[in-house]
Symmetry: none
Subunit: 459 residues, 2 copies
């Protein structure tokens, strides 16, 4: 039996142990955006440190001004990899839409017989991180060693802006640098087809707060005479797109060229089922720029989305109030060479130009990151692709993705590294939504995939 | 000494008694919207019945499916009036903003030496109701009779929808009908200038809920391909007004003619201080239809206001979600002959025309009522105006009001009566807010004003 076969056999033999460990971690409600959960983030970091140490890693939870960052090493001569993931999770509201406590994980059977792990973070990203951790554990248990030198960098602010990671990476760049980056925070191309994501959109998040009167007003006394910040805000948000779905902010499309023909051909060959993609969430019409496919809209076109907006009375019944304030959270997905800083500045100008003389606007800066594209002709990418193809019995695809993983920019810019993004999430995992799940098969075959990738990178 | 002078002298002699009675009533926390306070509403009704009976009224608290309605009569030949008010009060939250227990009334001196009654309900409406009750008491004590036939109709659901009053009025219309209605639930034109409110705007409240996908989505995966209900809603709400601040719903202005020249001239003579009106809440520019004064905008022009809107993530931090739903509460203030039902239907058509094929809209109907305008050339109005002018030493004004008092429509439609709305509240009474107060001077001169109005209506 080869070392790889031994590691794979060990994974298969320890499936219940792996699940129990993941459940332990999922029970910690490490919601990074809510200050009340800061102690839970600390616990989630400490839990991982203890687990990695038990396997023989040097591991430590480094304090930051925000949540701790876990770094672990098990070094040896030869090729090296740095695995990145995050232990923090999204908030769980609206809680009433969950079928059970989001932090009481359970294994549930679907009508088709498949089993899924249900909990906040089951897929994004604790379940995905543990695929890699379990692969390492199996290699160590089965062979006493890892095929290559491995470091882990697991942060706790991925869902809340990731503010402290770039500085940390800068400060620890010598210790962190490796031949290749590995990240498990993306999805399969389909439930049967693995994928390596080589293009990711960037992000720029911004919050605006419109203030009119210095207090809430009665709409009977003041209605129509007093400026209504809801109305001001609705105007601004409506102006963001033209009738063709294009973003109207001046200069927005600078650095966002049309997709190269080679990629366009590759993507066309994927056989993307647009009707199924939209149909799974009850939609049927691509809502972005007119005349472009949903795949193009989500992978290679920039966009502006209103992620949240609110003002005035939103409870049951009716209240004839004119609120003092209204606010919105807006994010821009960026592609190719779009500059998040330039777009943030252009957006602020766009907003200021629409705020009437009697109102004021405050801006709150949220996270940002440029888009990335990795060199698919690098041999490490082909090795990883072969390893994934072997595990799943189907050729792994190089794909794009609509989401942003800002840390991939840090890998590029701070550490000078490319990153292999191989993840096992499925489209229906409901990440960021109630009733998040991770297929048990993805968890188990994901771990086996990483066991194979570690072997492949040693070759 | 004339009978009127005797009644006025009696009011002056019994000031402490009047204050003690009002304080007794204010101590009962008759918050109608909170079911836990239903027994207190009953107590407040019974307290009033006992007080009116002690003065020689036939009085009774009539049970309803909600809170009791107090009806009292002291009939005689000749002119008759029906006085309306309410014994229920607004909730007191946020309680921590009150300087003392809202239901432990106190007389407090302001820095300028004036005294004010502080308690929930001091102004709205217990203090105002007691100005009329004390006027009746003084007439009866000083002369053994009232100048005219008087009935009272005091409800307990004015602050919580007033659901049961219209049916009650319909069922008791023969007993309630009188020559003129009297209501003390409005304000002075200024601390020195009394007023009769003769125009009130109507109201039509509507809630819309836009649904796109059947669940919340991650804006990375679905952003730009999936319809965003926030964007759909912002477009609809922004479209409600044109660049001149006019409402764009087809047919909206039907039944809303320009203000008659006579009223325009009267209002111009009021010397309304627009800068002070807006300045008190930190604003400076009338935000309604371009080219119209704030007074015209709030008194005689219809309007559309977004009282509440919300969709997506509104908590701290950022969440890159595309929500499934977004909703808004919109109200229309109506004038003259605008039809709330026609406007609700036109608004729904307006919204439906802007909902994309992939989204749905649900409508939730909230309250509605037509505007009212009373005939200021009716002799009763001139008599009341003269009485108020005599008490305050200053010409009372016929004014408009931006708010709605739905019961005035019931007086018109069910009882066929006009209503003299004479109240002594001031702009700074903080009704519906913490630390509500009623100026002692308003309470005392208010009672003297009603004593004069009763005499004037007999003439």
């Amino acid at each position: 039996m080869s070392d790889l076969d031994a590691a794979l056999a060990r994974l298969d033999a320890d499936r219940e142990g792996a699940l129990a460990r993941l459940f332990d971690w999922l029970r910690i409600p490490s919601i990074s955006t809510d200050p009340a959960h800061a102690p839970d983030c600390r616990r989630a970091a400490d839990w991982l440190v203890a687990d990695l140490r038990s396997m023989g890693f040097e591991a430590e939870a480094h304090p930051t001004a925000g949540h701790p960052i876990v770094v672990a090493h098990r070094r040896k001569e030869g090729p090296s990899a740095l695995f990145y993931g995050h232990y923090d999770v999204q908030p769980v509201d609206p809680l009433e839409l969950w079928e059970r406590d989001p932090f009481d994980p359970v294994l549930a059977a679907r009508p088709d017989g498949a089993q899924e792990i249900r909990a906040r973070g089951a897929s994004d990203d604790k379940g995905q991180v543990m695929t890699f951790v379990e692969a390492c554990r199996a290699w160590l248990a089965a062979t006493g060693d890892l095929p290559i030198s491995v470091s882990l960098l697991i942060e706790g602010e991925e869902e809340s802006g990731g503010e402290h990671l770039p500085g940390f990476m800068q400060a620890h760049k010598d210790a962190l640098r490796a031949d290749i980056g590995l990240i498990c925070d993306t999805g399969m191309w389909s439930p049967e087809a693995p994928a390596i994501t080589t293009m990711l959109r960037g992000l720029c998040g911004e919050e605006i707060v419109i203030t009119a009167a210095d207090r809430d007003l009665h709409s009977g006394h003041f209605g129509s005479a007093a400026a209504n910040p809801n109305r001001v805000l609705a105007r601004i948000l409506a102006d963001l797109h033209d009738a063709d779905g294009r973003v109207t902010i001046p200069g927005f499309y600078e650095g966002a060229p049309e997709l190269p023909e080679t990629l366009r051909a590759q993507w066309a060959a994927l056989g993307f089922d647009e009707a199924a993609f939209l149909g799974q969430v009850g939609l049927s019409i691509p809502a972005g720029e007119r005349g472009r496919s949903a795949l193009e809209q989500t992978w290679s076109r920039p966009t502006a989305e209103i992620n949240g907006m609110g003002g005035g009375y939103q409870g049951p019944g009716f209240k004839t109030v004119i609120p003092s304030k209204a606010s919105a959270k807006v994010s821009f997905r960026l592609v190719f060479d779009q500059d998040p800083h330039a777009i943030r500045a252009a957006f602020r100008d766009f907003v200021r130009a629409r705020v009437p003389a009697d109102c004021t606007v405050d801006f709150i800066e949220h996270g940002s990151g440029r888009a990335v594209a990795f060199p698919v002709d690098d041999p490490a990418f082909e090795k990883a692709r072969a390893a994934l193809s072997a595990e799943w019995g189907r050729e792994a695809a190089f794909i794009g993705a609509g989401g942003s993983i800002p840390v991939t920019r840090e890998f590029k810019d701070v550490l000078g590294m490319d990153v292999i993004l191989a993840g096992f999430a499925l489209e229906d995992d409901r990440i960021h939504s109630p009733n998040e799940k991770y297929d048990l098969r993805c968890f188990q075959k994901g771990a086996r995939s990483w066991a194979r990738v570690l072997a492949a990178l040693a070759g």
